[in-house]
């Protein structure tokens, strides 16, 4: 569709050049017709792009919000079924939290070191 628009736009610009001559009535009519068509095509192109943008952003947000809900639901179900025995480190006693913090610090430092080495290449995503 945009290709058609581009073609029409080029065509109308070309005809616009010939329309400077007041005797070129046919050319003027053609320009008007083409300009009208180009305008309609342009409008449709913008409409399509707007719809794409709305659906694209809406779907990305909607699905990621849905996944948030899925995560919360999984957590709830796992707790209810007593499958997830892992305690929430943020709710533990201060000593447990300190240990968790120390573990995170150690792991992130290790990860940062490893990521600089050749063992774990960037994924490119």
């Amino acid at each position: 569709m945009a290709l058609v628009y581009n073609h029409l736009r080029r065509e109308s610009w070309a005809l616009r050049g010939t329309a400077i001559n007041p005797d070129c009535i046919k050319a003027t009519e053609a320009i008007a017709e083409n300009a009208g068509r180009a305008s309609r095509v342009l409008q449709r192109c913008a409409d399509d792009a707007g719809i794409l943008t709305g659906i694209g952003i809406g779907t990305a947000f909607g699905l990621l919000v849905a996944m948030m809900i899925v995560i919360l639901a999984i957590r709830l179900i796992v707790r209810l079924l007593n499958l997830g025995a892992a305690p929430d480190s943020s709710e533990g006693d201060p000593e447990t939290r300190e240990k968790a913090l120390a573990a995170v610090v150690a792991v992130t430092t290790l990860l940062a070191d490893q990521s600089r080495s050749d063992e774990h290449p960037a994924t490119g995503a």
Binding site: D48, A49, I57, L63, I71, I74, A103
Partner: protein, 383 residues
């Protein structure tokens, strides 16, 4: 007699068949090789891409990157022409294979432990649509081409290649190289924006360690997310399903050999063919036009807007959150795994050495991969 043969030999050599544009592209290829080797910038991508650029511009007439299905003569198609046609353009095999490997390397723990970071991955997709509209406004590109250019803002190489091959194969080499080049440049593009849009106080925010995530959660999440996404956007299935399958290999813990194969051998083989092939698509005659320069500018705008929207969204979330998040992790929503997360961590540590953001930033980083694959699926569905 000897002189004429010498002349024929010279005419058949590369020296007689390259022009100034090829020389410039050779410089670009050598630049990529330099950045990969000396600066350690995305070496797994930039080194093979750079070498691909060099070989296709060194001897442009060899047909190394040509695939000619109509020819009845043998030996008319080159290795990377065949790989491009069957691996990317006609069948689109390599990007899903790479997603399998990425899935096998991904830990969803940070996302599951702090699910609100998923929203940051969605917010950073704004960059895709900025570039999309910019491409349309230029009047140089059709809707499918604009979509292929916009997806550069997702900062996700395989997704860019996947979408370009589907919607605008003629732009594939350019969009892929620009995407990977900007991904390699996140260390230069993002920090100034991060510092500009956040206060020192915000950058110093220390986040609580993410909660420990159970194995059951890590198993259930990719399985349910895969089904949900594929049901909503079936066209994203080639990427999302492979990503989640790779992750389920990893989290199941029962197929370590498959996990290792997907994240090492398979990923490495696919990377070799994909990256060199992308490089060989950058012949001088394809690159030197106005469109390529416009795409270069739009790619930068897309990256910047994705970074900005992630940061601003994180700041906005802080208005309503009781436990504040460090807005620096918002910029990691532009995918570019794991470089963007690493940049969030480094900039955060500059402000507060006690702040460890790497684990937190992996949440929006992984969400960004999913978000850009979803947007790519939407584009394929509607165009």
């Amino acid at each position: 007699m000897i002189l004429s043969e010498l002349l024929d030999f010279f005419r058949a050599s590369g020296f007689n068949n390259i022009d100034w544009r090829n020389v410039i592209m050779l410089g670009v290829g050598l630049g990529f090789v330099y950045l990969a080797i000396s600066r350690d910038l995305e070496p797994y991508e930039l080194l093979p891409i750079g070498l691909g650029i060099i070989i296709v511009n060194l001897v442009p007439f060899t047909g190394f990157a040509v695939y000619d299905p109509d020819s009845t003569d043998p030996q008319t198609s080159g290795l990377f022409g065949v790989v491009f046609h069957f691996g990317l353009s006609f069948w689109n095999i390599l990007p899903p294979v790479i997603f399998l490997g990425i899935g096998a390397m991904t830990d969803f723990g940070p996302v599951i432990g702090n699910p609100k970071t998923l929203l940051l991955g969605a917010a950073a997709q704004v960059g895709i649509f900025v570039a999309f509209w910019g491409a349309l406004a230029s009047g140089l590109f059709s809707l499918p081409e604009a979509a292929a250019i916009g997806i550069i803002g997702g900062a996700d190489g395989p997704t860019t290649i996947f979408l370009s091959a589907r919607l605008a194969p003629e732009l594939l080499g350019v969009t892929a190289v620009i995407a990977y080049s900007y991904m390699a440049s996140v260390a230069f593009i993002q920090p100034p924006l991060m510092k500009l849009l956040t206060t020192k106080h915000e950058r110093e925010i220390e986040m609580k360690p993410p909660r420990e995530v159970s194995r059951q959660e890590k198993l259930l999440f990719p399985a349910i997310a895969m089904m949900l996404i594929i049901l909503v956007v079936p066209q994203s299935a080639p990427l999302i399903s492979m990503f989640m399958i790779g992750n389920l290999f990893r989290e199941s813990g029962v197929v370590p050999r498959l996990t290792n194969a997907a994240s090492n051998e398979l990923l490495n083989i696919a990377t070799i063919f994909l990256m060199i092939t992308v490089g060989t698509q950058l012949s001088a005659e394809r690159v030197f036009d106005v469109e390529t320069l416009v795409i270069l500018g739009l790619g930068l705008a897309a990256f910047s807007c994705g970074t900005i929207s992630g940061l601003v969204f994180a700041k906005t979330m802080n208005l309503v959150l009781r436990d504040k998040i460090n807005p620096l992790i918002g910029s990691a929503g532009v995918s570019a795994v794991p470089m963007a997360a690493r940049i969030s961590h480094i900039v955060g540590q500059e402000a507060n050495p006690r702040s460890y953001l790497l684990g937190h930033a992996m949440g929006p980083n992984v969400a960004g991969v999913i978000g850009s694959a979803v947007v790519a699926g939407v584009f394929v569905s509607l165009l």
